[in-house]
Amino acid sequence: MSNNAQLLSSRRHFLAQNAMGIGGVALAWLLQREGLLAKPVKPNLEAAAHTLLPKQPHHAPRAKAMISCFMQGGPSQMDICDPKPQLDEWAGRDFPEKIKYDNAAQASSKVLASKWKFKKHGQCGMDFSELVPGFGEVADELCLIRSMHTGVNNHGQSIHAMNSGRTVKGRPALGSWLTYGLGTENQNLPAYMVLRDPANIPVEGVLNWSPGFLPSLYQGTVVRAREPRVLNLNPPAELQGKPQENFLEFLSQLNSGNPSPGELDLEARIASFELAARMQTAATDVMDISGESDATKKMYGIDDPATKDFGTRCLIARRLVERGVRFIQVFTKNQYWDHHGNITNALPASCKKIDRPIAGLIKDLKGRGLLDSTVVHWGGEMGRLPVVQNEKSPGRDHNTYGFSMWLAGGGFKGGHIHGATDEWGHRAVSDIVNHYDYHATLLRQFGIDHEQLTYKRAGQEQTLTDGQKARVVKELLA
């Protein structure tokens, strides 16, 4: 931590103190009168004060921050990154194995071949289809997992599995656990930020960034598509800028006639407004990408209307990481990848939106030396089935028994493919990675033992993996 940061955090620490707890001199004096009885050392019975100050992990971390690009809806693995020649051979014929459909009305047993050509990329020779040329360019940085598994076939449950560790609602999100365990480096910015799509929010809405039973301090802060970008952090448009400056000046005049000089918490409160104003500046500054070079903006696809929005959010994510924000999740809109029908046109559009921005993000982080310590994640809550859904306008139905996602940076092995689905791309068959294995592995990269990061609730120690048989998947690590 720099000196400045230290100063700032000790200041914040002071502000976070229980104001009634300041002092205690007289109390000590009273207690001494008891004299003969040694005062026992208090065991830690009370709830610890919660702060976002940086905390020591269990062991040396490989990763310090994470950017998760969450493709809500479930990208089709066999059309993007898990090529299956057998589908071409069987195209249009009856699928010979057992299969579970989500949409009954449009269920079909006909095998659907991918419409897109695959090619090997990078020195590692990772296969990507023509839909994601950008992924191909950064293939050597990616650790592609083709054997993801949550095993619950609808969006909500599988989202909870991937984002909160279990298939039930209401548990803390991954980002909440990380910020609870590690705090954050920059006390002027929220520790955990969510960059939502301007159109709408993903399925399960705010539960995606809910702190569950953890204190609300660890909740994801949503950056909105309109002003105020961050609720409570910025005023409504009419008060922004000069009016609020005037407001704070007038407020400090009101507070200057302090009726009780020496009251520490009154003074702390005045200081808290100063800190709040600094937080506003920091947040406004980080969202403003006007100072970035044209070359950088181009790298993220900000020059192209199709990629401008997602590229801008990826670039903001990088700026947040630079400033010490711990966890950032960038969402595509509600069910953007849920291609039950018309996959021929819809999937290319979805891929186009994110391909160049995410590739740009990887390249930019690498160029700035940040990729080593930053995990980048691409993936959704499920994949798709190898058979047709809706014969009139073919798409693919849900599949949580075998799907793909990738991780990059933060000590994950670049240019590596882990696990496999069967010949259909239907079920993960080798080196299966369950959502909890992914979480255990991820926490390890942050220096955290997934069984040791606990929070006591209702008399029980809670963890992200919650007693599921999670395995740190060492094969994914560099």
């Binding site: 502000l15 009634m20 047993s109 009726p259 009154l266 407004f273």
Partner: protein, 887 residues
Amino acid sequence: MRFITFLLLLLAAAPLQAAPVLFEKDIRPILKAHCFHCHGEDGRERGDLDVRLRRLLLEGGEHGPAIVEGKPEESRLFQMVQSGKMPKEQAKLSAEEIALIREWIAQGAKTARPEPVDPDAVGITAEERSFWAFQPIQNPKVPEGATHPVDAFLLRRLHAEGLKFSAAADKATLIRRATFDLTGLPPTPEEVKNFIGDQSPDAYAKLIDRLLASPQYGVRWGRHWLDVAGYADSEGYNEKDTERAWAWRYRDYVVNAFNKDLPWDQFIREQLAGDEMVKPPHTELQPDQIDKLTATGYLRMAPDGTGTANNNDARNQVMAETLKIVSSSLMGMTVGCAQCHDHRYDPIPQKDYYQIRAIFEPGLNPKSWRVPNSRRITLYTDADRNKAAEIEAEAKKADAERQKKIEFFIERTLTWKLEAVPEKDRAELREAYRSKKRTDPQNAILKKYPSVRQISAGSLYLYDREYNGEISKLNTERKKFADKKDDEKATAELKRIDERIQFFKDALSKKVLDAMAKKASDIRATKPEEPFIRALTEPAGTPPTTHVFFRGNHDQPKDAVKPAGLTVVSAPVIAENDPALPSTGRRTAFARHLTSGQHPLTARVLVNRFWLHHFGRGLVDTPGDFGRLGELPSHPELLDWLAADFMKNGWRLKRLHKLIMTSQAYQQVSRRNAKQDALDPDNRLLGRMNVRRMEAETIRDAMLALSGQISLRLGGKPVPVMEDEVGQFVIGKENLDGERKPGKEVDLAGAQHRRSLYVQVRRSRKLSFLEAFDAPAMEPNCAKRPVSTVAPQALIFMNNAFVISQSRAMAERLQAAAKDDLDAQLNTGWHHAFGRAASPEQLSKSREFVHRQTALFKERKDKTPELTALANYCQALMSANKFVYVE
């Protein structure tokens, strides 16, 4: 007399080394806290060493004697604690404790008296019994020197330190302080004006009477009790956090009890055993009976996850949390620490924990558990029930009609889907689909045609899109023939198409089925609502036997115990079964014991808490823990005098409020002075009033009061809390679709402006605004709220939508009251927020500010620049220290 001796001891600042160090008094508490666990308790003797008696220390273990009299350096006990090798746990002994052990050994390792033979028979030592909180409540003589007893006690301590009371606060300060204290609301400018203008000598007494008579008093003080009772509108325990639809009746019971000044002994008895005051069966209940049953909601406030996870862990958790609530609220003891082993610091053996548990087991009874919904008492009358049954029969008819219609749609869908199947398979496939017991070949053919296999009642709505597609295709086709009506072939074709269109139109199911479902639910909605009481009752019959659980583990029951209170306060035996009652009567007996006037803790704990809410700090600063880890009372005699006076005068709280508030101590200014700051920086001696930040609810309520939007309605169902689009918890009725996308805002018809007490307390969704200002997490209750001052609070005052809306409403109110007179608007605003007039300088600065902002907003083409500027001024008033803190 022992108490007085203890006091003398307390006040005598004897130097540490002069007094003899004795095992029972000085050493045993240290060893008990840190060492007994592995060296003595539970039959555990690590290293073959038991440290519970001096004799056993001398005997030692596998490494030889643990102490050598007179020779600390040679004593293994001293060596181990000094080197930090022991205790192994993280909390090591303090330097002070190590020095004490050293001194004890050096003095020859003395005991106060001969030791018993059996270390298990030590029980509670005389030293432990002599702790101040376990001594009977005295009625100490009021010292000379002041007319008001409270002042007399306080002044004695102040004078001893060369200090005195501060000057009396002015009337504006006083009415603001008293009004916030008793009602949690700011005084209106008229109230301030009237009070200041009232020159009669009893003006202040009248003010207190008026405030105590306001129903808003119960709203304010009920909240304090609900903190310790752990009031919540949800079950907690797990992520489901199921709503408690009827807990609010207990909240209303509490508010009423405060408002009607229900004597506290009665209040406690009703909460602990109100059910035993009402003869079963609990049907066709009278209002008074409803009240008594509702009171036992107190024992149903602990988180209870058994509605969704009815297992032994969850059940025992309810028991444990309930005991925590009872013991911290009424006994000021951390009894829960004795669940697994003897209390490390206080004389509460593990057995005590289970004998208290035995009082509550017949009612809660983990062995024969009743989930939350089956514990409720219905307020349905027979007439209601008959009416409901009639309506249900009607609804069932509608259900049956709908079921018939579903069958029709399934048949139609099947017919259509079969059309796409090769002719040769159709008959077999239809039979396979309809078969109740499918054969292997039937399963095989169904697998081949998932389009048929998947047809089900639940998926019917999915086909509407397909049917509409077919209909629009047919309509296009129809156009080709429409103008060839004379053509015979075309006519036939048209007829065929029209029939086909009708076929699909009839198959459209969603609207039809939805309407039929609505019809049934509309019928059901006309049933009279069934109201419930959330209560604890005890079924008649043989009560369960309570056992001590080995290390607190409910899977390892050991000795059976009989019901009783804490041994250290010599609780009378509680009969296992009171023959006069259908239930065991254990809770009634326990309540009588707590409120007998003889219990050393109950009244002390209560008056301490009342004091806390008037002065911002209790006479004992740990209101939930009067044990050794708690703080000592700053004024033990005052505490006792108040407790005795409270009991003597019928346990009436309103009288006590008036007593405390008419003291000189309460009416002082809060300004600091250098002499006091040097001698008593924490103001423990109350040489001035404390400055207090408003509690979370008060901040919100006061803002609503300033804006004039506040609703002072009392009682009833809680105001709902929902998640907004970014995950903040705000007031509102959740309106989400299946994917949790928010729908239209639901109008709350003014309920959004009700006082914070009435906002739903859902454990997993605490109103974000209140949580930011330290509203407690009910896990399971809250004995003392922390006060934090952090930047996110400042951001709320600067930018939060609620604050901004209240500021604007306040500005509109000010404008309406004094059109075109800015100075009057500013001054009235100042009056509302701070309870006094602005000085000419303050007024001119305010005017400057509003002018500056108005100019800016005009530049920015704001539609109402003057109003926006005035609103911003109001926001500054609400954000000011002078507003948020009560002097």
